[in-house]
Symmetry: D2
């Protein structure tokens, strides 16, 4: 469904410059539906490089900033305000930047994890509350149509009481010990830069978010086992979590960065008293649905059985694969809807509560792992 649009919303970015893995997907996603125009940016830690790249992307020279402080000052002084700013900087800077932006009057769409400590996350939530600004978090996989389908099915009672949720996000891109010093990945395993968790904060967090997003159940408690498989790493590159959800469901979560042969193994399985669901991010348009005692059905995005929230997130006819950037784009649609006054859209957009909850869950996992797997409340 092609969204209605008048003129696009005015949009800014902090971070996500040349060579960033997540910058371009954000820009494609924001641009795809024509709902946002990139009017201002501070893309890089290296000011000149950031300004040059912003201009290359079509940002007016005066609004191509060298750092986020300059952008905040410059944009704060304009009458025509940016209606959304995306923050895609290193994790440890999210707190300061997002807080300043909200205080400056801007809505913020922040990369995950929202912050690197629970204290920061709670403060940021308070800032959002005090300033009345929108603060959303890029749990991008929740934008996949079939994850919305899964949530809609759970909400409709198709699975009955949820018993077990099994979530995975395992890849092998950090498995090579010989490449452990690669600066693109090394910082993730350094507590000074990454906080108390590596692969759980980076990947497991997405799997856990999906589990809560689809079931509607926050995590109540958990225990965790962390492993650092590649010699020299301080933080974990493999983790296992046993989870208890608020509604009584149990969770099993495995995440890894050393799973050689797995490209992007994000999967979700939900088992209830009346049926089961199965989904894999690498083949996102199919949801496997087994009603208790019946044959498994392959529910296709755009096919028989697809429900409203899945159709609303569809851009092309079923059978034409709809990929990762479309999932992010759906979050930008949600953001556009919320910003332009559609309150219902907020129900599907991962917001500040989800962002804070996930930071708490990751912290609880790190505490549990440090305590030999002791159960921790979240």
């Amino acid at each position: 469904m092609e969204p209605k649009r008048s003129s696009p919303l005015s949009w800014g970015m902090v971070g996500g410059g040349l060579g960033s893995q997540i910058g371009e997907p954000h820009r494609i996603a924001a641009r795809m539906d024509g709902l946002f125009a990139l009017d201002a940016a501070a893309l890089d830690l290296v000011p000149a490089r950031g300004r040059a790249y912003a201009r290359e992307l079509g940002v007016a020279p005066a609004r191509a900033y060298g750092d986020w402080q300059a952008m905040l000052a410059g944009e704060g002084a304009r009458d025509e305000r940016l209606q959304l700013v995306t923050v895609a900087t290193p994790n440890s800077t999210h707190f300061e930047i997002a807080r300043a932006l909200m205080r400056g009057g801007f809505n913020v769409f922040c990369e995950k994890p929202l912050t690197v400590s629970v204290e920061q996350a709670v403060k940021l939530a308070r800032t959002a509350d005090e300033t009345g600004r929108l603060l959303a978090v890029n749990f991008c996989y929740s934008g996949y149509p079939m994850m919305r389908q899964a949530r809609a099915m759970v909400e409709a009672g198709e699975l009955g009481h949820i018993r077990v949720v099994v979530a995975e996000f395992a890849h092998g891109h950090h498995a090579d010990a010989a490449a452990a010093d690669n600066p693109r990945s090394r910082w993730r395993y350094d507590p000074a830069q990454a906080g108390n968790s590596a692969v759980m904060a980076d990947c497991g967090i997405h799997a856990l978010h999906l589990a809560t997003y689809v079931t509607g159940q926050p995590v109540r408690a958990l225990s965790a086992d962390f492993a650092s498989c590649v010699p020299g790493r301080v933080l974990e590159d493999d983790a296992l979590l046993a989870l208890e959800f608020d509604g009584g469901a149990r969770g099993r979560l495995w995440t890894s960065a050393v799973a050689v042969g797995q490209m992007h193994g994000l999967t979700l399985r939900v088992f209830g008293e009346r049926g089961g669901l199965r989904w894999a991010q690498e083949q996102p348009d199919q949801l496997y649905w087994t009603p208790l005692g019946q044959a498994t059905r392959i529910v296709e995005r755009g096919g028989a059985g697809a429900m409203g929230p899945a159709l609303a997130a569809s851009r092309v006819a079923g059978g034409h694969p709809q990929g990762f950037v479309s999932a992010i784009s759906t979050l930008y649609r949600d953001l556009h809807a919320v910003i332009t006054g559609d309150e219902q859209a907020g129900a599907w957009l991962p917001g500040v509560a989800a962002g804070v909850h996930m930071v708490k869950a990751v912290a609880a996992a790190a505490r549990s792992a440090a305590a030999g797997g002791q159960r921790q409340t979240v």
Copy 2:
């Protein structure tokens, strides 16, 4: 790889209005990389509806036209010319519109099939030649990174001499006899509106184009068996072709619109003396490659073994599925590159020669089927 861009090219659309299946994918694809701005449009057979929708899409009122003739006149009179016009109207109108646009000085990106007769196709090619305008055809599946990988592997000799190509494009969306009168599909089976072929001209043409695109071998001759399975249909809804390619390869092509259970069954298999390739559109990021006498390898977009042309068509890291609109978008990248003077890009863009060749091949298939399967040269 995020393309370099200064200001986007000025772009227009004829057809592809509200409710069109292909209009929105074109717009998303053109917009994704920020390379084209929709400045003018004549979107609909119903003028008021077309103008209204164009304005909704952000086109200035003066350039939101009621029909293509008005657009041609209006845009032809401007100093700042549209640099590309996409034609997404009913097949039988492609010829007249594309010819007029080229004669008016515009580059054209035309939906497939290029025309509904060989005569028209040949004339259009002549017009492109005479006017020096670009005429490209939206064989969109050639924009998938792994189809470019496949072509690059064939060109590099990885398969050796090609022996057999097996191509399929079979879906079941026109299988319901009770829905045969649906106006969205009925016209396809009416010779007055669709010409001499239905599912071959609509779907099989894509599979055949991929076969020629990947192997670099045009079709020399073919024989065809057409079936009209749903009662009342005049044109075929299922077809089988035996093909001979210029380089000596044999082809086997099946296409169908009554294959209940298949969503979008476009697949390509290429077998050479040194190895085989296998690909399916519904899981486009993987190419299965078997070197003769060795285990099959799963070549991932963005993974080990991915070659330059595949990487150039990649937008996100491997493992994050890249879908259908990204494939079209790659053709828009190619168009942008060619229009801005990059001659090499033309090698990967399906151009007028491919468009004409496919019209000839479909016509030959229809002739063969009418003659009881007699071999026809293309």
Copy 3:
């Protein structure tokens, strides 16, 4: 379901000796259910080797024969007769051996193709008729539970009128030109030893048989395109057939021996006015079933929706894969049932009519290919 058995039937083999690819599967299959005891054998063209191997397999020395003529004489003279003899010799010898065995009073289970000429096949059918002996043919894939499920579903009208059947059997084991002189495969491409067809008679015949077995429709006419891809081969190593079935269905069949990367690509798809089925031999326990307008269902052997004929052919609980030898074993169960007087079992066992029909179809394909694809009645 474990079959009732008293003492096993007395069983003999001609062919299938040491190093034969099909001999051991026959023996495992016959032995699995304890329904047959190998009491006599002439296993090899080399008498001493055949006798030695038969003794190694537990055959009494006196009944371990050097050739089939000796076995016919020896066994014919016994009071306690063999109740079934399996013929697994080179194709060109089937006719003579099977005829002699039936005339000698023995029931025969013959490898496919039944004979290398239509004339032989018709004569053999007459012999079966005259002698009243059972003559069945090892179209082994019809023993897979989910092929019986498919047939039962078609018979029950679940698909309605059948429109299109798509069958494949393509492998790559004869693709290596450097190994074309390998004596294990060379004879297949030599008209003197193999008759008028190679891959069609060897592999395509199975795919075609399944198409007729599941739909219950014999082939009425066909046209064929044969290719000899590996230099030096006389007979075809790749073939495409367009088929017309008696009930009005159309068929598309591709078979190949040069499809590098395909291990054993035997697949069947059946599309009717009310739904579609999809099956692949390499994952035989699942049948994909799409009722028109509904989501595809994965019908599991032993799971919800499995019908009587599928359950009857099941040996272990669903989810425990049941493989190739079990499929042959199901034919031995059928043989046991027929021989011990269960007439209903005969409906599921590929008999002399199927054997003759397939020889005719292969011959028609060879004629059509030789005549440039001209349509041939079968």
Copy 4:
């Protein structure tokens, strides 16, 4: 590879009567290769039914016993001894029966779990040692060719140091609360009959055994989270384990009986410093192998890269699926080899050490779960 065989070994069964799920697979497996002849049996708790069924299976009336005590007495008195007795009775009886059989001089092949307590297991091991009898355990999945391939690859160093092993065995066959009183499954969740564990002792044990079998590393310590999802159950129907192996690998194991939609979800993934392996029981002939930094390869049973131990366990050419009973049959081949003096075969046969170790591991898991997930040494 068809094994050499003279006359089959004399074989007996205790348990596995009419309606038993595992009885028939044992008989098929033992019979397939012609290596064992069922000469004596006590198949059922109901003596008359057991005797009748044994006779139906071809056992001589005098050796068709009403209970195992009678069989022990009768067979113990014969000169010609049974060379192997399979024990397929309820778990809680394994100890007494296996001990008595070994003391009576018989080799024993026991169903898993070896016993229901560690104390029993240790005693049984001692008995085996004292009597010099063979005691093996039916960890049947270790008979799959590609599990032997995986072990051979690990032994050959292809994966380098093993870092993480992920094992699953999850099905949904006990998910229906309305069927929880079904006598075929109810006993499993009753501590009086099943001991301290249900799904872990029944299913998880197989996954864990494969992990140790393939890596060659016993479990050193573990922690477990057990859930009883279906109301009324005392023992667990879902479990998660974090494992430490002797060689330093970490393990993640999930097992469930309430995973609606999973038929027989036994999977194994092994990740080492030099590569990763992936295998699923429902598609057992393929092993996915990713050398670090290279594309994933699909190693086929019987295809390129298959190693000796995989080929030795193959019965039919690659591409012809080889199923579950063949896996058990491979263990019977191993048993035959060991009994007839081939000591090397013992290396691949799960023996008493594996049986005891698995009982200890299950007990440790139950202890850990009862202690809130506290780490337990095994």
